[in-house]
């Protein structure tokens, strides 16, 4: 009888198509918005996670995320290095400044000054060029979004420069780091070069990157550093999660959740109502099936199968569209970090299935309540 149910569904092409379109659009909307939200939150922690050679971040106690910079006294670096179990510790300087390209383009840039000696925090993946070229004074590597912003549509040419605070910084390569939450071009340079751009400031350390020695738990080392006073140490994941929580509590996720909820409600409502209409319009054939001895259980299975087919097809189309749109958007340099986690894809489909399940149950109750004798009238 399941086959009969599928044929009935296929035969009513208008409603079948309407239900699949409704599910597809709802799934697309939910996945798209959820993916943007997830990407935005992950971007708030992208620069923290990009630093793979350190497993500890030490900051001033008030700092909640990578974009909050409070300069640290240089003595703190020595205090951290003095902790037993710390393999090494290196300063990282972060400054924001205005950059001008040769072509007259102007934009605020984030400059990260990497420790000259250890190069701790240098990007490991490069699109073009070598990362360690920044050892030379007044050189830097730029992220893909920054290159596109300052040199739109142009191929990379080593040695082209940006003017930052009256210094000419030569670009030696394009890094392959995650897109930053701020959307600002990201320049990695040596701490010496960055310090020269930061004239007038007394302290040249924004973060201290550290590595735990083998046999030492990073969490335990964080506790040790925190007991020193005046410092806040976190593991990479703790700092990343604090950053995401900080931005997540600013209200933006609520706006996305509203859109996702609307997608869920509208999608489920249209699908559910159309399905219920489909069942009601087929009341006479279904009554006939009851008369000839089709059990309520068989009819229930039939409805479940019809609903499942609609949801699976709609979810596949919707997820496919969401993934395709995601891939198109990712081609934009500043949106290159957009991704659609499988958990979001699965979760949105299951959420829609749960809500639509109510409509399927209502349809089943309607079918159970159908008076088979009505087929004689």
């Amino acid at each position: 009888m399941n086959w009969v149910g599928l044929q009935m569904l296929r035969n009513d092409r208008a409603k079948f198509a309407a239900m699949i379109v409704a599910v597809s659009l709802a799934v697309f909307l939910m996945q798209n918005q959820a993916a943007i939200l997830a990407t935005m939150l992950s971007m708030t922690a992208a620069q923290i996670r990009d630093v793979q050679d350190a497993d500890l971040w030490v900051t001033e106690p008030e700092v909640e995320c990578f974009d909050q910079v409070k300069a640290m006294r240089d003595i703190h670096l020595l205090r951290v290095r003095g902790i037993a179990g710390i393999a090494w510790a290196a300063p990282l300087l972060k400054i924001d400044a205005i950059g001008h390209s040769e072509g007259g383009r102007l934009n605020t840039v984030t400059v990260l000054g990497i420790d000259d000696a250890s190069l701790a925090g240098l990007p490991h993946q490069m699109r073009v060029g070598r990362a360690d070229a920044i050892r030379e004074l007044n050189t830097a590597i730029i992220d893909p979004g920054g290159h596109e912003l300052f040199f739109p549509g142009e191929p990379f040419q080593e040695g082209r420069s940006l003017r930052i605070r009256d210094r000419r910084i030569r670009i030696m390569g394009i890094s392959d780091i995650a897109a930053p939450f701020t959307g600002l071009p990201m320049l990695h340079t040596s701490r010496s070069t960055a310090a020269a751009l930061n004239l007038g400031e007394q302290h040249m350390t924004s973060f201290i990157l550290a590595r735990s020695a083998p046999g030492n738990r990073p969490e335990a080392l964080c506790q040790k550093i925190n007991t020193l006073g005046g410092l806040r140490a976190r593991t990479t994941e703790q700092f990343a999660s604090d950053a995401m929580w900080f931005y997540g509590s600013q209200g933006v996720p609520m706006l996305f959740m509203i859109t996702i909820t609307i997608g869920l409600i509208v999608g489920a409502a249209i699908t559910g109502q159309t399905f219920l209409m489909f069942i009601k319009e087929n009341a006479r054939p279904i009554s006939m099936l009851k008369v000839v001895g089709t059990t309520d259980r068989q009819l229930g299975t039939m409805i479940l199968l019809q609903g499942t087919v609609v949801l699976v097809l709609g979810s596949c189309f919707g997820s496919g569209i969401a993934a395709a749109v995601c891939n198109v958007i990712r081609t934009q340099p500043f949106l290159r970090s957009l991704y659609l986690p499988w958990e979001i894809a699965l979760g949105t489909c299951l959420a829609l299935a749960s809500v639509t399940g109510i409509a399927l149950y209502a349809s089943y109750r309607h079918v159970r309540g159908l008076e088979p004798a009505a087929v004689f009238r």
Binding site: M1, W3, V4, Q7, M8, R10, N11, D12, R284, P285, M288, L289, K290, V291, V292, G293, T294, T295, Q298, E371, P372, A373, V375, F376, R377
Partner: protein, 251 residues
Amino acid sequence: MTPLDSSAVHCTGIRKHFGEDDARVEVLRGVDYTVRRGELSFLVGPSGCGKTTLISVIAGLLETSSGEVSLFGNHLARMPHSDRVLFRRSHLGFVFQQYNLLQALTAAENAAIPLLAAGVRRREAVDRAAALLDRLGLGSRTAAYPRQLSGGQQQRVALARALVHEPRLIICDEPTAALDHATGEAVMELLASAAVHPDRAVLVVTHDSRVFRFADVIAHMDDGQITHVEPGRRTDAATHLGSSRLTNPSA
């Protein structure tokens, strides 16, 4: 064989009402009615006299207010609902006034529905239904959809659906009402030739007096009661004539 043993349908004192108090309507007022095996029995009467309610009660689709219905010695009212559904699936076939074919299915697939409901594999069910349609003169139309068939052809598909699982009682509700006279006669001839069997009863509800000649027994009903029962005029000659005419697919 006692009269009860030979009966396919045995109704005793059937009463049925709808609504309560001021809205109460007595539709069946103590119906005693018997249909014997091997009979083509007509239940006739004016519209609203209770014919459809009575066949709904006989088929176990409606509960009686009082009285008993026995089908081949089985008391439907005493069966659990699920058993009643399974009994209906195995032992009853139905032909409706409006055919009630599923537009999504071909003629053979429509005719196979009772077998599919009984769990027979699709291929086997459709093959059996197609073979039956062939015997009913629709061998060339098994793959046609209802919208591609004439009214008479659709009713023949409905008849195949009623016969395919070899039920012991076939209930037909106004099978000729939606057909013109010639087509109606053809369908009745087919019913008389294909459905009547010594161990099967056929109960036809109709008010189409032009087909009365196909009946073995005619029960007249009025105002919720069987008023009188008279023998019909079905002859073997008529049946034979019918079989030969009915194999014309254009009917």
